[in-house]
Symmetry: C2
Subunit: 266 residues, 2 copies
DNA sequence: CACGCTAAGTTTATAACGTAAACTCTGCTG
DNA sequence: CAGCAGAGTTTACGTTATAAACTTAGCGTG
């Protein structure tokens, strides 16, 4: 690199960066933000250590390890950071249903901002602090209506399953749209036509008919409908109290003691 | 390899395999069966081309490519083969609800035999012939009650979302149990205790209380409950017909025409 | 019988991934 | 000034999927 006898003049100093500001540039929050931005832009599989480091400047992939310990650690941080963005009230409000509807809507909006969330969620244990806070709120809302914590756990799990399942499905569709380029009409219609061909070949008239003109509820309507079904079901259970005035004593007959590793957060 | 001047005698011929029966040993079905067995035993990430080839005998990973074209192709075949194992009646029976309950139960049993199924399902487009057959049956059952194909699509999607979501959650728990060795008490309790510590540290009393004695509905009860909620919701919609005597003409006001890439199978 | 074609598998090579271990700076402090 | 610690890089290794070239077995045909 030394210009010992080169014909080129030495490059003017001021064209080079004035000095690498060697003062703890990197940090957990920056790294996680870069990873989230990358996942937002290009999807979950685009999150590689190299790509995240590159997005932060001219860093080597190994530079991240000092801060996030491993890729799984980075994913955990991403998930909890995204969860932190869904607002959770400090206390349940007057209407338990409104509370859960609002939380569900906020969570869904988060998964729409971060389509990778449902994809990565199921690859890691859900033990982040913000996930816990969110779950605690759901439990508070439900136990406030007199059900046991165990039942509240079940209801929360059903709701989160629906939210994440919806997001997962839409994330997959988005992924396929991306694969076939950004112009929908071209490749997407081709894939649809191929499916239609298979459906008619297999003698599936209803499916083929739908594929020929695929109309129906929007993802949004579908989400709302499923959520309504679940909340309606919970309503029935709440209005049929098993013990009078929200009895505090344990109810061992409520459910078997199985399901040790159960989890329910999102 | 020639025993030119070695002191060892030439190995007796009959200790060596008599002759490689070079007559089309491999085939799609064998490969897919091996991959499914591997995934059943060791989980979805254990399915690598090398491992599958090894399970079939002393094959090179590249031997599979002639038959399955790529790993994604192999996964597609695995998914459809597993789907083929859930029995689908040729015609809807007298009770639509019994039909859907039976199909859901059979599907769930399949996902319990193949915990990798929900994991891999969301990585591939659901266009396999047996998936289509299964979906066609659900559509037949529901449209037989007078709803449009579009609405039937929505209901089917909600049910499958619940089935696969349940399986996904349980698959994750199984994965964690495997990671911490097979003896539950040792590592699993430690992980639980760690979560409990975090919950108390974060001031989440309800969650901490539950973690201290984690009891509640079994996964089976949870699944049944969620399914009941969904079917109850669908029941309400069915018993409130929007058109008299299952009108055949299209109902464009049923839902917006959005949701082009929608899919609903399982 | 010799020839060559084709199907079936293997070998080799490449690019990308996560990450352990060793190394190289830089700036501060005793 | 010595050296120490923190920040980042380089190098290296084991995996993964898979393209491309090569090898071998068996069959049919001149």
């Amino acid at each position: 690199m030394s210009p010992a006898s080169g014909t080129e003049p030495a490059p003017p100093i001021w064209t080079l960066p004035p000095a690498p500001p060697r003062q703890r540039a990197l940090g957990r929050t920056e790294i996680v933000a870069a990873a989230i931005g990358l996942a937002d832009d290009e999807g979950a599989p685009a999150v590689t250590m190299k790509a995240v480091a590159g997005r932060l400047g001219s860093y080597s992939p190994m530079a991240l390890y000092r801060y996030v310990h491993s890729k799984d650690g980075l994913v955990d941080l991403m998930l909890d950071a995204a969860t932190a963005a869904v607002p959770v009230p400090g206390q349940p409000g007057p209407s338990w249903r409104a509370d859960l509807e609002a939380l569900a809507a906020q969570t869904r909006q988060m998964t729409q901002r971060h389509p990778w969330y449902p994809v990565l969620f199921h690859t890691r244990p859900p033990a982040g602090p913000h996930m816990m806070k969110r779950l605690e709120f759901m439990l508070a809302v439900l136990t406030g209506q007199g059900v046991s914590t165990a039942s509240a756990m079940t209801y929360a799990a059903l709701i989160d399953r629906h939210i994440l399942g919806s997001g997962l499905q839409e994330a997959e569709e988005a992924r396929m749209s991306r694969r076939y380029g950004l112009d929908d009409a071209a490749g997407l219609a081709a894939g649809l036509a191929e499916m239609h061909r298979l459906a008619t070949a297999g003698d599936f008239p209803l499916l083929a008919g739908w594929l020929a003109r695929p109309e129906g509820q929007s993802p949004e309507e579908q989400f709302e409908l499923g959520l309504r079904f679940l909340l309606d079901g919970i309503t029935v259970r709440l209005s049929r109290p098993r013990r009078q005035w929200r009895g505090r004593r344990a109810r061992p007959a409520d459910g078997s003691s199985r399901g040790l590793g159960r989890r329910a957060s999102g």
